[in-house]
């Protein structure tokens, strides 16, 4: 039996067209041996949740540089929960002030990575915390 491969989705919710970071991350996940679905900019939370389910990903990485993360990130978590897909891990990144971290954790975002984080840190986090076999 082949080993389960980790599938991740990198998505940019909302009105934010700055996707250099998201692309770098998508590339870095690929180099880490994951299968990465990149959905491009200007996605609604509903589009992201629907795509994550269609693609059966283990992880959704949200990138937001516009300041709307407190509105957009929790919506993705809630929509996944509504569709019975709360076993999909959601993490976030971008320009996110320290004081928002706890609110996002409370809303179900499992980790937050801000500028300056090394790519290795993120990949190691995923390898440690995302276990595709154990999902329901």
């Amino acid at each position: 039996m082949a080993k389960r491969k980790i599938r991740v989705m990198v998505a940019k919710p909302g009105l934010d067209g700055h996707d250099r970071g998201a692309r770098v991350l998508a590339r870095c996940f690929r180099d880490a041996g994951f299968e990465v679905i990149y959905t491009g900019c200007h996605q609604t939370p509903a589009q992201i949740a629907a795509s994550a389910i269609q693609e059966d990903v283990d992880l959704v990485g949200l990138s937001c540089l516009s300041g709307a993360h407190r509105y957009l990130f929790p919506q993705v978590v809630n929509l996944l929960k509504e569709k019975g897909a709360d076993d999909i891990t959601v993490i976030g990144g971008g320009i996110i002030p320290n004081q928002d971290f706890q609110k996002l954790y409370d809303a179900g975002i499992k980790a937050i990575f801000v500028p300056g984080t090394t790519l290795d840190t993120i990949v190691n986090w995923v390898n440690k915390n995302v276990k595709p076999v154990e999902r329901k």
């Binding site: 180099d31 994951f34 299968e35 679905i37």
Partner: protein, 321 residues
């Protein structure tokens, strides 16, 4: 069986997980496929192939739109390459199709090739079955960006669209074997660029020169203009969509669909035989350590691959020899 019933009811989450299990070679997936197999064979499977950046995903997006306007339900399998170095993959086809992601009549699933060489993934055949059993009317299968030789799509699709763009080479390319032979429909994309008319002439000359039996299908050469001018693009897509339908109707009325079905089933059987016979034997050879010692023998030139293969066949496939 509950899982198969959920697939038949069109449950996306179950279907997507099943496709994952097929990709990951989870043994239980085979049982579900056996269960849903009798419910397959109803969808029209359309293959879209062509070189990287030719516009396959954008054309699939346009075809989804025209199909939905006809109230057909749609499945999409979009294949992108797996890295031979890391095993990772960037699956970026669905970027072009995201306007359909919330439409419950559309199910888009990206697949990585995971080492397959024919332009598709090993899982694609069963993934088509899954979407077919879900009741999708039409299933678009987008291959990886292909070169000349990746023609495996003909084993799965009723209709193959080959997407070309101007400026990719001279007329000799058009008479080469391989991908240029498999088209049921040629599409020249980005047709407002220089060289589109020349390419169209060359293709038409090539088609005139090929031996099409009386009453056979003559592949049309369609053009698609700039996708940034929505009206022109949509108009060209409607023409393409109508041709796709026409080809399917032709297969049915000429009874050629039976031949395609047979070709498809033969390929599936070949794959299943490989899966049921070759893989267990290889697994056994690994487990017993025989594989290692055989490689060792080859390195030392004590034997040769053909003799060793015969030895394996004699030992594990009694009755054949």
């Amino acid at each position: 069986m509950e899982r198969g019933d959920k697939i038949k009811a069109g449950d996306v989450r179950t279907a997507s997980r099943l496709i994952r299990d097929i990709e990951d070679s989870i043994p239980e997936a085979k049982a579900t496929i056996k269960h849903i197999f009798p419910y397959t064979g109803k969808a029209q499977v359309v293959g879209i192939t062509g070189s990287p950046g030719a516009g396959k995903s954008t054309i699939v997006d346009g075809l989804i739109e025209t199909s939905r306007k006809k109230e057909q339900t749609v499945g999409v399998l979009a294949v992108d390459p797996t890295s031979p170095f890391t095993g990772g993959a960037t699956l970026g086809d669905r970027i072009r199709m995201q306007r359909h992601s919330e439409d419950i009549g559309v199910f888009i699933r990206s697949l990585a090739t995971r080492g397959s060489l024919g332009g598709l993934s090993k899982a694609v055949g069963d993934a088509i079955h899954v979407m077919d059993a879900m009741g999708k009317d039409v299933i678009f299968v987008e291959t990886v960006g292909t070169g000349q030789q990746e023609v495996e799509i003909i084993h799965y699709a009723h209709t193959v669209i080959v997407v070309l763009v101007p400026g990719m080479g001279d007329e000799i390319q058009a008479i080469k074997a391989g991908i240029m032979e498999i088209a049921d429909i040629f599409v020249i994309n980005k047709a407002d660029r220089d060289g589109a008319q020349k390419l169209q002439r060359e293709l038409m000359t090539m088609i005139e020169m090929s031996h099409i039996p009386p009453g056979g299908w003559k592949p049309p050469v369609l053009t698609i203009r700039n996708s940034f001018k929505p009206e022109e693009f949509e108009q060209d897509l409607r023409t393409l969509s109508a041709k796709v339908r026409e080809h399917y109707d032709f297969l049915i009325s000429s009874d050629l669909i039976g031949d395609r079905q047979k070709r498809k089933r033969l390929h599936e059987l070949n794959e299943a035989i490989r899966f049921s016979i070759l893989e267990p034997v290889l697994e056994m050879l690994v487990k017993t350590g025989e594989l290692d010692s055989m490689v060792e023998k080859l390195v030392k030139k004590e034997s040769d691959p053909a003799s060793l293969a015969e030895e394996i066949a004699k030992k594990y496939l009694q009755g054949c020899f």
